[in-house]
Each structure stands twice: as structure tokens, then as C-alpha cells.
Amino acid sequence: MKVKAKNKEPVFHLFIHIILILCSLACIIPIILVVVISLMHEKDILLNGYTLIPHNATLNAYVTIFSNAKQLISSYVTTIGVTVVGTFTGIWLTATIGYVITRRDYALRKQLSFYVFFTMLFSGGLIPSYILISKWLNMRDTYFALFVPGLVSAYNILLMKGFLQNLPISLIEAAKIDGASELKIFMSIIIPISKPAFATVGLFMAFAYWNDWMASFLYIDSDSKIMLQYMLVKVMKNLQFLNSPEALRYGIIPQDIPTYSARMAMCIIATGPILLVFPFFQKYFVKGLTLGSVKG
């Protein structure tokens, strides 16, 4: 059923736009600031202060980061691969269990919900997880360590539950009468009508994978397998250490680092690309013209 967006309340709409424009500015200006700082000379920042318009723009910070092109490409490839595989696998796992918990006719509903929820608050901590992944599962220095541990998170499951809460049971019952299996119901009915839910949770998962650096730090030894965010964090951390008073005691020569501007450049390079993913997900959860009513 097509719904035509008739602008019945122009004043209200204007009000909305004004508020949203203000909010957008509040969101964009700091980001512009980040870009600008990444283009400024280190000395300029420290001597003249921060400005919205750079006096002498320089690509110094970016050049330093891009100098190791081979590594950068390798990390981009790894990160994209891990994000895609992790997100798709993760959405399936999250949705299956999230959907099952919403079914009021599921006998083990309370138990499964508690099973999921308990893991949100109580965890054994880093050491048992490290021993599990690195030793028992032998995932050290493998791509698996980068995405498998993060596939299923209680928060995402419960979020999915929140979205799928109001699925009409009538549809499901109708399908059952027709003799469909639960799997078939899930795939042919639930998935199509839950696109907003899947897309939203999927977006967050993709984002989490893209930005993760912890897994690379803990489990990866080969440079070819490290993810983007870690590659950049690593360089920054190394240089920071080498320039710290502690390091200088050892007689280490302090090497040149473009600090503030480099860090900003890193923010841009690391998180910029994920913005491109946004439209892909948005088309599933932004109001479409044919997202019709489901009531039968």
C-alpha cells in the first residue's frame, strides 16, 4: 500500500528541519575540525592554537601514514574481509536466537533469554578468554580470531529481540498450518519483514568489526593479518613510547612524529571508509514507500 507523504503540517516540518540542521552542524563542525587539524603543521597548532581554517595546509601527516602502502593495503583487505564475513555470519546467528526468544509459544523462552542475558553482565575477564582463543582453540595468528569471538553478543541479541517483539503471530500460525518448518518460516517470512531490524543491527556489527583493534593486538603476530584500526593505533603507540621520557632514559633517539595532526589524520583514514557503508544499510531501514502493513 503506497503512502503518499502529504505535507499536512508545514510549520511543524520547518521546526523539525531547523532543529535537525542545528544538530547536524553540531555534529559536523567537530568533524571538520578533525580534518582541519590533520592538515595543520604541528608547530602551528602548538604555537597559534586551533582554528577552523588552517593557515598553512600540509599533507605531512597523511604522507607519513601512507608511506607504508603495502601494509595499508593489506590491512584494508583484511579489515573489509573480516567485517563482511563477520557481519553476515553474525546477523544470522544473532537473528536466529533473537527471533526464537520472541516467540511466545516457545517452551524454553525464559531459560534461553536468561542464558543470553547472563553473559551481558558476568564475564570471566580477559585472561580466560585469551587462554581459550589463543591456546585451547588454537586461533592464535589466524583470521578466525578476528571475527569469531565477536559473532554473538548479548546486547545485539536483546536489541534484535526488541525489534522483533511485535511480529504478528498470525502470520506464523498461518504458515504452520500450511506445514512450513520453523526454518522455512524464518527464512521466507521473518527475514523479509524484519529488514530494518537486520539492517540496523548489521550496521552496528559492521561498525564494531571495522573499528576493532583489540583482537589484532591480542592474537595476531603476522603483519599481514592485522586490521586497519590496529595498524594505525600501533604506529602511534610505538612512536609515543619512543618519545616518552621513559624511553629516552634508555638512550633511544627520539624520532619525529607529527602528533596531533597525525592522530587526526588517523581518525579520518581509519573511520572514514565505514561511512561509505552507511547508504548500503540505510536503504533497508529508512522509510521506504512500499514497507506495507503486515496485518492480515
Partner: protein
Amino acid sequence: MCSKKKRALLLALMLALVVGVTGCGNKASTKTSTKTPSESDLTQKKVKLTYVIMKPNADESNQVSVEAALNKELETKLPNTEIHFKFIDGSVDDYNNKINLMFAAGEEFDLCMANSVFNPLSAAVAKKNVIPLDDLLNKYGPDIKKTIEAKYWPAVTFGGKIYSIPHPFVYAQPSGFVFKADLVDKYKFDSKSVKTVQDLEPFFAKLKASEPGITPFLAQGGLLQRLDNVDKIVDKLAPSISYDITDNTVKSMYDDKVMIANWKTMVDYLKKGYISKDRISVTDEISEIKTGKYAVMIDPGAYDPTAEKSTKAYGFKTYETFFTSSLLGTAKVTAVGSGISATSKNPERAMMFQNLLYKDKVFSNHVAYGVEGQDYTVVSGQGTDKPVVKTSDNMKWAIWKCWIDPLWDQWGSNWNSQTALDFMKKGTDEAPTSPILGFTFNSEPVKKELAQISSIEVASYKILTYGLVPNGDVDKYLTDLKGKLKDAGYNKVMDEVNKQIADWKKANGK
């Protein structure tokens, strides 16, 4: 009722499964072999050693070629042995966290850092992460024992056994004031006569009056406390507690008249604008100094009368003036050192390798500098045993010698000139020794109190050093601070320190 039963059953089942899985997976602790194999079959087995150290240089991309060259050298020098360096990225905390995880997971590696900074030694010993080295040193480490002075071994001895090898290094670094040369020249300030932070007043006054773009002083704590008569026994955990060697008592920095006067001076300097109000937002001191807007700061690691190092480090011409020497105490002596991991399967070979680094200076310099031609070039003294070298501009390999063997054997280079090395060695050999060198404080009994104290002091240190004391009333702030510390158990810690020192003195006939 029914569902409650079901739930309980489910939980019980899960718990049983969890315990079962962990029971299977949790192997018993790796026992270290107490039987030493005979000499002949020692180098029979092919062994690959792993040395875990902090990443010394941001770029180590020549690692493969360098290690290949080193392993080729080892074919004749230590047969059937290969070495691989595992570099841990990040900060000191990252190294410590990572290596603890590696111990926890029982990952195999042989040598690692084990000193007061990296893989904190007393904790590592208490947790049995590193093994006793006495037998291994006696059998396979003769050159190590020859090189390290007897007086240093007690610092790495716990319960009568040695657990770390303290590599000869500039333990007790003197500190100095560093002056921006052009300003000193312009105002004809007698920088060499400065002894205390108060002596800088006239210079600062002139700068404040005529140099608006310059902040006279970068308030750094190292320029406030003299370290030649105090041994910081609790080191980083409670740096305010030290052992005063002039009267052999344990004192708190907050009772020290000189420090109190200095803090009052900092308040004064802040008021007069000699210190920046925003000192607190400076997280990166070196970068801040490099901008050239400060006139006086601390040395970049150690006092150097030639000002060579600070000029290079800060990027502008500098003069240096001596401020204080350091005492050779346990905390200092354990600034560098390596140990052998309890997870090592080849401790004997590991010790042999470590010994080789001490014995064969050519080999150990190859480890430090890399492959000739690729990573460094010989500037002079080609063919001698002490050449002068220069590393390439974009270093793709570097290992700081002090982390794995004696610094003094390092070839003179752009890292440290031979003169600088000689100066540092002389300073260390002549440095005053603390009467309680060898004593290590065991923090276990007061670990809770230390945690609380640490939390308070991290904050108060900044406030006092940067002159940010509320209303400029240092006395009141210190009274409040001492009250807070007392509640956190400061006196209990002092008593424990006194007790442990007394026990140690008795046990060591002092």
C-alpha cells in the same frame, strides 16, 4: 514450579559442562627440569629461541633478513640454534599486559625482559613466571658472571636465588637543567651557576617581561627533587616514600623541607606566569618542548655536559647544567634486565645464547645494528673490534643493546657517540651506592593500601608540581593530603617498609 526446576537443571547442566571443559583444558603447571643434560647433547638438538622484548623501533621491517643473517652467524658460534625476536607493540603497560597473558596461556618463549619497568621483576618472581638462574649461570653463563659486578646481583636476588640478569647500563643517571641556548645568550644569564629551581627566578623575570611568546618553565617534577641522598624503595608504587641515606631512616617526601619550599616556589611561579596555567593539558612533553616555546626544561634522559643529546632531541641549541646525581639503589639497578620464562622448553640453550651476547661483542652489535650495508655503514675503524658506525636514516631494524646485554659494548654510533658512552660508564662506576642496595620491597602485604595511595598520589603529584594547589596554600594542601594518605594506610606502608628493611639488614649482617 516446573519451569523453575527446568531452569535449575539447565544451569546445573551448563555449570557441569563448563567445569568439565575447563578441567580438561587447564593443564597442570609446566614443571621446569631440575636435571641439567650433559654438555655433549646440549647443542645436538635444533632449537629455535624466542626473545620477547618491547618493540624498539616503530619500523622493524628488516626483521626477516636480519634474523637470517644472525642465524647464519650462529651456525658457527652456537650451533643448532636459531633466534627470533618477538616484538610487543605499544606502551610499557601493553608489554606488561601482553606478557602476562602469554604467561597465563602458557605460551612458549625463552627469554624476556624482567626488570623494574618491563615485566616487573618482583611480581614476576612472586607469580613464578620466571625461573631461578643460579645453576644456569654457573654452568652456561660464565661471561655474564664475569661482566656484572658482584654488588649488583643482590638486587635481582629473591629468596636466595637470582631471577634476572641486570645488564650493565647507565643505572644512575644524573639529571640536569636544559636551557634554550639563544635565550641564555640574549639575556646573558649565568646558567652554569644554577643549583636549584629558585635560582632561575631572575632569568624567568626577564623572560616574562620581554618575551611574550616564551613560557619560561616547563614544570617537570624531576627538577624539584634531589636524588643523590634518597633511595626510592617502593619505586613507582609510592614514589613519595624513600630511604634517606644521610641518617638511614625512611622518610616521606611530604615532610621534606626542601620539597615543600620547591612546591611553594611552583605556586609562586604559576602566579607570576612563569609556568603555563594549562600545564595539565600537556600530555606529550617532548613534542611540547620541540615547539621551542620553553626556556628551561629537564634533560631528555640524562645530564650530558656537552648538551649533545638534548640539542638533538629537542631540535634547538641547548646548554645543560648539572642538577643532581642519582643513587645506585635496587630500583635503579633493575632498570634493565632479562630473565628466562617458566614456559621455556630450552632454558639451557637460552642461557647459552644470552652468554654469547656478553662474550661475542661483534655478534651482539650485529644484533643491535643489523646487517652491514643494509642497516648500517662503518664510518671508521673498519676491521677493528670497536668501529664507529652509522645507521641508515629510515631505520628498519634496531635493538637497544641495554635491553639485552651490556650497553658499554655498543659500538659508537649516531645513537651514542663513544665519548658519550665513556662518560656514562664513568658516571655509573663512580656513582654513590645506596647502603641498602640489594633490598627489594615486597609489596604483597600492603598491596591494597598501595593501590589506594597510588590513586591519590598520581593526582597530587601533578597538582603540587604544576603549582595548582588550591588558593596557593601549600601547607594546608599537604595537611589535607597527609590526612587522606593516612586514611589510605600510608603509615601502615611506612611501618612495613621499616620492618622489611630491618629484617633485611639483620639477615645480611648490616
